[in-house]
């Protein structure tokens, strides 16, 4: 069967408009583009990190705060060696139907490790990073959470990052 152009468009159309109508001012808008920095060496020789808003965290750690009306501005380190069974999701605002059966659909640690084993990726940082995307204060998100994760990623010696909002 041939894919039509509509099959290639976003599954949930008008997301930006919907979120803005419901939660005015909660979304981050940038007017400028960030200059592109090319990776200085092959991916196969680079150390990669992963940053996710999926609310994935090691089992038994303080759950992300999914009830606070203004959100949770903390992040968790997740060992890149963690098995899916060691992890759990605390986040209400995206569909977790797939992730509940195979975490790799939103937090693909096993696939990333496969790619390291194959030599396609040089290495993973010891930890990857996770937070929840339901936050009503985008200015605080940028000023605190984003900066804290960026500092931690840099301290880990990451040369590239894969970012996946949930």
């Amino acid at each position: 069967m041939t894919a039509t152009s509509s099959d290639r468009e976003q599954l949930r159309p008008g997301l930006w408009a919907t979120v803005n109508e419901r939660y005015p001012g909660s979304m981050i808008t940038k007017s400028d583009l960030v200059p592109l920095t090319k990776l200085g060496k092959p991916l196969a020789a680079s150390r990669l990190t992963f940053v996710s808003t999926a609310g994935v965290q090691p089992r038994g750690t303080l759950p992300f705060d999914v009830t606070h009306p203004v959100g949770d501005y903390s992040f968790r380190r997740v060992p890149s060696s963690a098995e899916p069974a060691d992890l759990e999701i605390h986040q209400l605002k995206y569909p977790t139907a797939g992730a509940n059966r195979d975490l790799n659909v939103v937090f693909p640690l096993e696939r990333l490790r496969d790619l390291v084993a194959e030599g396609a990726i040089g290495a993973l940082t010891p930890d990857v990073y996770s937070f929840i995307g339901y936050n009503m204060d985008p200015e605080r998100l940028e000023r605190t959470l984003a900066e804290e994760i960026a500092a931690a990623v840099a301290a880990d010696g990451a040369e590239a990052a894969l970012l996946a909002p949930a």
Binding site: D7, L33, V34, Y94, P95, V106, L115, A164
Partner: protein, 81 residues
Amino acid sequence: MTVARDVTTHLKPPRAVFVPFMMGHHFGVPFHRDLQRRVILEALARLTRAEQSGEIHDIPVTWAQARREGIAIEQAMGLRA
């Protein structure tokens, strides 16, 4: 990675890869290792291939096909009748 092109257009990350998948399913469907792997590799390829900041690269996949393939994989694994 994005499943919301309109949101990404406002956010203007230097590199983005769009997949027409359900929210929370950026890397595909359960147990579909090949698709999960392919999405990651296509995203990481932008590290060296992206030429212009702000470009959103489309991965030529569809949700319907991903789901069909996922169902076939689960049937082969005995997870689904």
